[in-house]
């Protein structure tokens, strides 16, 4: 059995390869998750933010189980390197997201990084944060064809009604 070919094919593999290895990848994502819980809105390379999004949402789901739950506490203890954030997670974020069943984060792309690498960057934020809202792309703008036609029709009607 040619194991080398099997290792080179990555059909169905969901985890990206970041950092130096699996441990390093988890440490990187852990730092990002800690920063997100502390600042509630961070900028990071898009690939890392995308990986981190899944872990952040699962962490909040664990937090929703309550801090008396042994597993939830161990998970929070591992994933949050700054221990004062464990309190914030269970006392502030879990009640905030209690009514929501699903997505707790928002991922939006921003212009590429200014340094030499021109990396694809993204901003990831927890919903319900206290900062001013981000500029989200609205699919329905005034510049779409249908909206322009409707605007023209409205103006025609107004002109006909005025005259």
């Amino acid at each position: 059995m040619r194991l080398s070919v099997a290792a080179a094919i990555s059909h169905g593999r969901v985890h990206r390869r970041l950092g130096l290895g699996p441990r390093s990848r988890l440490d990187l994502l852990r730092n990002l998750v800690t920063a997100l819980v502390r600042h509630e809105r961070i900028e990071a390379p898009w690939a890392r933010a995308d990986e981190m999004r899944g872990y952040a949402e699962r962490l909040i789901e664990y937090a929703k189980l309550g801090d008396t739950n042994e597993r939830a506490m161990r998970m929070a203890d591992f994933w949050l390197t700054e221990k004062d954030l464990i309190h914030k997670l269970f006392k502030v974020l879990a009640p905030r997201f209690q009514p929501h069943p699903g997505s707790y984060t928002r991922l939006l792309q921003i212009p590429n990084r200014d340094g030499l690498d021109r990396a694809k960057m993204a901003v990831i934020e927890l919903k319900g944060n206290p900062f001013p809202p981000l500029i989200r792309p609205r699919r329905d703008t005034e510049k779409t064809l249908l909206n322009q036609l409707l605007k023209g029709y409205r103006e025609d009607m107004q002109r006909a009604a005025a005259s």
Binding site: G12, V14, H15, P22, L26, G54, Y55, R58, M75
Partner: protein, 246 residues
């Protein structure tokens, strides 16, 4: 017999005997068979639904008992080259694999000092009977290490009588710690990746510590690897038990 009015009493037929079909009552399942649970992936759930319908159809015709890894089973298959056109194999179930109609289980036994493992498919139409001879759970989910254990742990009497058990009792867990043949083994069972609790390791402490070098303590905290099947299991359990009752 005369009533209080003086008229003859109306004939009351004797009450109908209530037939309690003990065979059917004993068929209650305790847990869902693992091959019904669909694996995690991007396949259309329609495929699993169709497969489940076929599996239930087969189960209506041929009763597959529920068993775990560690139970001792006897399987009779149709064999055109055997004397009675049927061959019977008794063995301990060491592994249950596959999902859907291709679900398999491997039975192991040692016959005349030769270890024999046969991989049967649960939904193979050639299988004529599956009997559970002994219900007993072991400490692990995968008993492949019995290949490297002393042969006495894999020998089972071919003409064993089924051990009678009462229903509505927990399946007993056999906390047997198996002794192994000297190394080399087919796999390095002492490594934490296999997480085996049923072997009595007689290796020196240095080797055990060296094996712990391959432990990945971060793996239990990797949340995206967890597959929570409780809700899916409940839905499928309801669906399957309803269909089987019809």
């Amino acid at each position: 017999r005369v009533n209080s009015d003086g008229k003859p009493a109306k004939f009351q037929p004797p009450p109908k005997p209530v037939i309690i079909d003990k065979q059917k009552q004993r068929e209650e399942r305790r847990f869902l068979s693992p091959e019904f649970i669909p694996p995690r992936g991007r396949t259309d759930p329609l495929k699993f639904y169709i497969e489940r319908k076929d599996m239930i159809q087969r189960r209506k015709v041929f009763s597959i008992p529920e068993f775990c890894v560690g139970h001792i089973l006897a399987v009779t298959t149709a064999d055109p080259y055997a004397n009675d056109k049927a061959s019977r194999f008794v063995g301990i179930c060491i592994q249950r694999g596959g999902k859907g109609l291709g679900a398999t289980f491997v039975l192991r036994n040692v016959i005349e000092d030769q270890g024999v493992e046969i991989c049967y498919e649960l939904y193979n139409p050639r299988i004529q009977a599956i009997e559970v001879l002994k219900l007993e759970k072991r400490l692990d989910d995968n008993l492949m290490y019995l290949r490297d254990a002393l042969p006495e742990y894999s020998t089972f009497d071919v003409n064993m009588k089924p051990v009678s058990r009462l229903d509505h009792e927990e399946i007993p867990v056999n906390k047997l710690q198996v002794r192994m043949k000297p190394k080399p083994w087919s796999k390095r069972w002492e490594r934490p990746k296999y997480n085996i609790k049923g072997i009595k390791f007689e290796l020196p402490g240095k080797k055990m510590k060296e094996a712990q070098k391959w432990s990945q303590p971060w793996l239990e905290f990797d949340m995206l690897r967890e597959y929570d099947t409780s809700k899916i299991e409940e839905k499928i359990w309801k669906e399957v038990s309803e269909e089987l009752k019809k």
